[in-house]
Assembly symmetry: C2
Homo-oligomer: 485 residues x 2
Amino acid sequence: MTASPSPTLARHDLIARFTEIVGPTGILTDAADTAPFCTDWRDLYHGRALAVLRPADTEALSRIVRLCAEHDVPMVPQGGNTSMVGGATPDGTGREVVICLSRMNRIRNIDPHDLTMEVEAGVTLKAAQEAAWEAGFMLPLSISSEGSAQIGGVLATNAGGNNTLRYGNARELVLGLEAVMPDGGVFHGLRRLRKDNTGYALRQLLVGSEGTLGFITTAIMQLSPQPREIVAALCAVEDADAALKLLGLLRGRDPALVQAFEFMSGTGMDLVTSLIPATSLPLEERAPAYVLVELATPRPDAELREYAEGVLGDALEAGIITDAVIAESEGQRAGLWKLREEHAEAQRRAGASVKNDVSVPVSHVPELIKRATAACTALIPGIRPAPFGHMGDGNIHFNLVQPEGMAPEAFLARSHDIMDTVAAIVKELDGSFSAEHGVGQLKPYMMPAWRGGAELAAMRHIKAALDPRNLMNPGKVLPPATQDA
Amino acid sequence: MTASPSPTLARHDLIARFTEIVGPTGILTDAADTAPFCTDWRDLYHGRALAVLRPADTEALSRIVRLCAEHDVPMVPQGGNTSMVGGATPDGTGREVVICLSRMNRIRNIDPHDLTMEVEAGVTLKAAQEAAWEAGFMLPLSISSEGSAQIGGVLATNAGGNNTLRYGNARELVLGLEAVMPDGGVFHGLRRLRKDNTGYALRQLLVGSEGTLGFITTAIMQLSPQPREIVAALCAVEDADAALKLLGLLRGRDPALVQAFEFMSGTGMDLVTSLIPATSLPLEERAPAYVLVELATPRPDAELREYAEGVLGDALEAGIITDAVIAESEGQRAGLWKLREEHAEAQRRAGASVKNDVSVPVSHVPELIKRATAACTALIPGIRPAPFGHMGDGNIHFNLVQPEGMAPEAFLARSHDIMDTVAAIVKELDGSFSAEHGVGQLKPYMMPAWRGGAELAAMRHIKAALDPRNLMNPGKVLPPATQDA
């Protein structure tokens, strides 16, 4: 390895100091060892690292950060390495250290009265979910990477997922935080308070800052009781307008029951049932679009199935939906979810595709789908728009599959045209270019146009104030100042 | 008036420039006119103002702020002037301008699909609630000052209230914000997105910053469907431990139904029923403590009353509660709430009292009550601890009424001893010295001991970065740097 030495300390001296802090098992320096930490899981970004450091506790992390601050060593926090936007991958200079908190992986406490769980950054989301469940509660945050994603990264990126419409994003589920700030100071905010108006919202600021303002080391997460009844139904609808009406009907009766509301296009469903083995449409006829609704309640004797039959019956009668099937068993419920979850894989099998993780106000989802479908079809005749996702919170994965017979390379060569086309419509609809995945190193260039002016200026001021040497995950979230309008 | 002139512009020139922006009806300069804006409603703080400015729109506000920034004029945002901590009162120098957004009082939009309301800063909370209700929805934020408190102040102070345990604090109810930053730049964040991971949480940071980081001018608030059934019950319990068990039972069955969970001491209830006309205990026997439970749901046919009878019956059988009465009518429900709401007035009539707006983790409420009761009784024999409040979110108003027969002045002379005694216990229980009321100018001195170290340092860095000349509501929230440990 030929990494540039730190400006103030020779590389081997730095390594020695790091080793002193984390011990020989807490540091990797050989290129072969550090390589897996220097590439994102989608294989889009390839960096190098001076070292990969794995501190065992907050105290060790704080010492590392102080050392890095002293010697101008940039730091890249990494959790489960599941970023969709290269948010945890170092740059190519070899000057950066990757810092992983995977050794901080204890679930410290679950409190049944406070409905809280104290969990360290290195615990996977799945392990946290399971521990909560075993204690009789539910951690209501679920994303597809939950088996690998770690709490630190989940919070740093304000993860969303299927249940945001009911329980909120990660930010809303965090009651307390401990974090190591860019100067190595420890923010002791592991409070379990539902009300605390004593100064600025540092906790909320750190959540979603993608490791650019500090390291989240431990969190107090808010739990929910386990649902005692869950009912899933697949509904056929004419279009997204009808889906919106269905959402209004369900939320008007009781939003607390609506745990998921997932839109799927007819095109996307066709791809799933034709390309994924052991899937089939459990409705008599193909429809232009579908909604997977999941209702849940911890209330005993809530008679949720009868409730679902009633509300879906009303929707059918009102012409909002054209058909529906309610899962009769856990197996059938899993089958309905499989139709939703296999969308990405089916699209992959159908050829090249372009993905857009966008959100708009819920009321604008139908317009987004209509306009973006028309615009993309005009751009590339035969293109197969297959939008799907979390309609209940306005987050649509507006994915587009290549025309049949087109060369994948030729289609992918138009990726940016397609993305720009969708983005322009999302912007007109007051939406977001990154609903769930964050900014990372993939999308900072979009910030000036979308979040420019006083907003980006304030973000830059905050970044410069908390991390004046720009050592925390540099190059992520904020674009170089030269890109500002 | 003999206010010092601005350092760079004579007073009369500044006034002329302000008048040019807001028009003659938008500015007050005579001491008699500005006086009501220079004193808080509790008559604890008395300041002076160079002028009171009432801009008609964001554009005018932005121009004012630019002018103030240019000429080093400190600005004090003021809404309904209902702060409990002097947060909206100018200092005594006469250099500060008070800026009121009461002319910005339009409810711009209510969207039934997004369940959102776009509302300007000068609208009173009550007017916003009523508009939401008339449109068929509910703005689930309620505080006792709602008739005067304006949305701008409600958000700037992250108001809480009775329903936080169900719907969250003000911060959780804000989906979008427009704000004028300390340099006069406008943060255009009036988005209605449930998912948006594009940079730092500026919205959350501005909410609760008590006007020290900018002016909130307009907000998108999240609405809920109206409840179709509401059931209130008054339960008698042996102590706060039993109340905690009751809360666990209710939340274990369905937290979405629990809209309020208010604790009252036997002492406090005795004061109410003996000192407030037209009140009486609707239970057969006096109890050591009480809980007012309110359940609500928008779900039709939820049979909430039967549900309440069932769960309270179980609680009775399990010995968690000793008695309970369920309101049979709206009138009876109002009667139960009157018992809770008259606590402050009854305490006032009983003599001098000392108030503590504190919070602890919900699980620690019983310990707080036990320890603080014992400690205060040891301090002043005969003192009457009458803790009450939002136990469901850990927020207890730990108020103490003077011993019978003691001279009020003698009791109040011990105020700080009493507050320090309660605070020490709250601190040991990882609580907050200001659950709802904020810091204002009353409590900045407590920040170093309670939120010191890296936390206060980060707050100072953010303040200095966004408001480098310290012109936004100076002297509020953050103590002078000399007070840091």
